[in-house]
């Protein structure tokens, strides 16, 4: 009884789910995901580890609605991500992305880059500014708000990308090699901040990474090989 209640409780807390997901490119010539089954419970931090091309990024893209599976089902917050799903709502409010290459707009300032999701969602300017201040304080970027992206260091850029991803208070953060372009020291610092912020904000984190050292600091570490997820490894 106790076990089934626990199961039911876990079931209701699943925020990301992939069921038998297949994905290939070039008309099936390149098979990236081969029947992936994957679940993430609310508030967890999960690392996807594996070699390049094993499908980590593709899986994140599927969860963000940026791509669609050939077969199988992907759902976020209990709702399947397909063409009937409001993908704008998903991208604006439910998930945030952080990429390896920060993907900031170079001619805009740090502040303007961070405010882009708020502009997209039509968030009131004052509310957006207050949120930006909150995130900038948390990530130590308040003194850099007016600076252009070109003037920022790699670590600052990635912290900016983190602020932007969390601007509209999504409860899921999808991070694709977030420290992949940083040196070891900066990488560790940014990752510390990432874990701290997701914990403070109560955000679920799914991170694709090569770095087993960083991956080991997540709640769960999933191994991906050849388009499949292997049994979770306890961190």
């Amino acid at each position: 009884m106790n076990v089934s209640m626990e199961k039911a409780s876990d079931e209701s807390r699943i925020v990301l789910r992939a069921e038998g997901v297949w994905k290939s490119y070039d008309d099936g010539a390149i098979s990236v995901l081969k029947g992936v089954n994957f679940e993430v419970i609310e508030g967890q931090t999960v690392a996807l580890c594996g070699p390049s091309g094993c499908g980590k990024s593709t899986l994140l893209h599927l969860f963000g609605g940026l791509d669609s599976p050939d077969r199988g089902h992907v759902s976020v917050n209990g709702v399947e991500v397909n063409r009937y799903r409001n993908l704008l709502h998903l991208l604006r409010y439910e998930v945030g992305f952080v990429f390896q290459l920060h993907n900031l707009i170079p001619d805009l300032t740090l502040e303007e880059n961070c405010l882009i999701p708020a502009v997209a969602a039509g968030v009131d300017r004052r509310i957006a500014q207050a949120r930006l201040q909150e995130l900038a304080t948390r990530t130590g970027l308040t003194h850099r708000l007016g600076h252009r992206i070109q003037k920022l260091s790699g670590g600052e850029r990635q912290r900016t990308a983190l602020c932007r991803a969390l601007m509209n208070r999504p409860k899921i953060l999808l991070a694709d090699e977030p420290t992949g372009s940083l040196d070891e020291q900066t990488s560790a610092a940014v990752f510390d901040l990432l874990l701290e912020v997701v914990a403070t904000e109560g955000v679920t984190l799914v991170m694709a990474t090569h770095d087993r050292g960083l991956a080991g600091r997540c709640d769960h570490l999933m191994e991906m090989h050849d388009g499949r997820i292997h049994e979770p490894v306890s961190a």
Binding site: L66, D67, L88, N103, L108, E112, I116, V119, A120, N168
Partner: protein, 370 residues
């Protein structure tokens, strides 16, 4: 604000490309403004010739050009006697030539014509007009370019005429024209017993409809039109206006292609940026708005630059002595508005394909390839 910055950022990023696009629209707008304004001015001047102290013009129905119109003198004499008519003045238009000046407009008029009565005579005596068949009066500019002065004997066409006066008129056509007594002009142009038009001044303007219907009933081959009606319906004016707008439109179309080219390049060079905006939650429409905003900014800047350039050009044309009186630099608000709107529409139309392309950008593909 960020939306605006996203629009302006890309223009600033590619300054030379943006400038070339703006210049393309600007030159098109300037050309359109200049051509349309000059032609409108010319039409206005021609209309004012016909409307000198008159409200209605009578001419031959269905004639393609007033130079070919033939109104019998008998009709003029009869219309003059109608009770609603204050006065009726026949005018015969013709083209004469002199050495070095192959085209000079000639006006065959009576001594009672408003042009003879009301314009300022800088030389000669207006009472002397039409006393002798070989007398002519010159417009001030005609006297200038013909190098003629009072009492000169001037070879015009196959005849030699005595200059008995020089008059100054604000109308460029008239100022560059030769005024002959009507009978002399009829003989000179072999149009005895006819004039090109009759200009009518009514005793009461409210009788215009009655006058026109009376002309229609009495003379099946003649038509009477109020001045505004004439300006609107005269086929030569319509052809001129259509030509002006067509020439300007072609220029603008070329400018539009320039904008389209710029916008396509703009979209191609910022595909990654568009993908980022998509990932941040920008809708297709918001992406399109950025692209359309960019093209609208180019068009608007081009329109403003073009209007300034066109205005300067018109003022420069006005300063050329030989064009004095021909160029009316009064910029009509309607023309400014139409030209600006056309520039905007052209620019925005040029952004349709680029915007559609931008809307189709798949974020996942754009981001996958570094």
């Amino acid at each position: 604000m960020i939306f605006l910055k996203l629009i302006v950022t890309n223009l600033r990023r590619h300054r030379i490309r943006s400038f070339i696009s703006v210049a393309g629209i600007a030159f098109s707008v300037a050309a359109m403004l200049t051509v349309v304004t000059v032609l409108q001015g010319a039409i206005g001047m021609f209309s004012s010739i016909l409307s000198s102290d008159s409200e209605i013009i009578v001419f031959e129905r269905n004639v393609s050009d007033l130079f070919f119109s033939s109104v019998p003198t008998a009709a003029w004499e009869e219309i003059s006697r109608w009770p609603m008519v204050a006065h009726a003045d026949p005018v015969l238009f013709g083209i004469v030539s002199s050495s070095d000046h192959p085209i000079i407009t000639c006006f065959g008029v009576t001594a009672s014509d408003a042009r003879i009565r009301q314009n300022a005579w800088t030389a000669g005596d207006r009472l002397a007009f039409a006393q002798h068949p070989d007398d002519v009066v010159l417009g001030e500019r005609a006297a200038e370019f013909l190098g003629a002065k009072l009492d000169d004997h001037l070879p015009i066409g196959h005849g030699v005429f005595h200059v008995i006066g020089i008059l100054k008129t604000a109308n460029g056509f008239e100022d560059g024209g030769v005024f002959m007594p009507l009978n002399s002009a009829q003989a000179f142009f072999h149009k005895e017993g006819t004039s090109s038009v009759i200009t009518i001044k009514l005793r009461n303007k409210d009788d215009a409809a009655l006058f026109k219907s009376t002309v229609k009933a009495r003379y099946s081959n003649l038509i009477g039109l109020e001045n505004a009606e004439f300006t609107r319906s005269y086929s030569q004016f319509r052809i001129l206006k259509a030509t002006a707008w067509a020439v300007g439109g072609c220029g603008l179309l070329l400018g539009g292609f320039g904008v389209a080219n710029t916008m396509i390049m703009s979209v191609f060079t910022r595909i990654r940026e568009i993908a980022i905006l998509r990932v941040c939650g920008f809708s297709h429409l918001q992406i399109a708005a950025v692209i359309f905003g960019e093209s609208a900014a180019v068009s608007l800047a081009g329109a403003v630059m073009g209007l300034l350039t066109g205005s300067c050009l018109l003022y420069a044309l006005k300063l050329i002595p030989t064009l004095h009186g021909y160029v009316d630099v009064t910029l009509q608000p309607a023309i400014l508005l139409i030209v600006t709107l056309l520039a905007l529409i052209t620019g925005i139309a040029g952004a349709f394909y680029p915007a559609a392309y931008a809307m189709r950008v798949r974020a996942v593909e754009a981001l996958r390839f570094e």
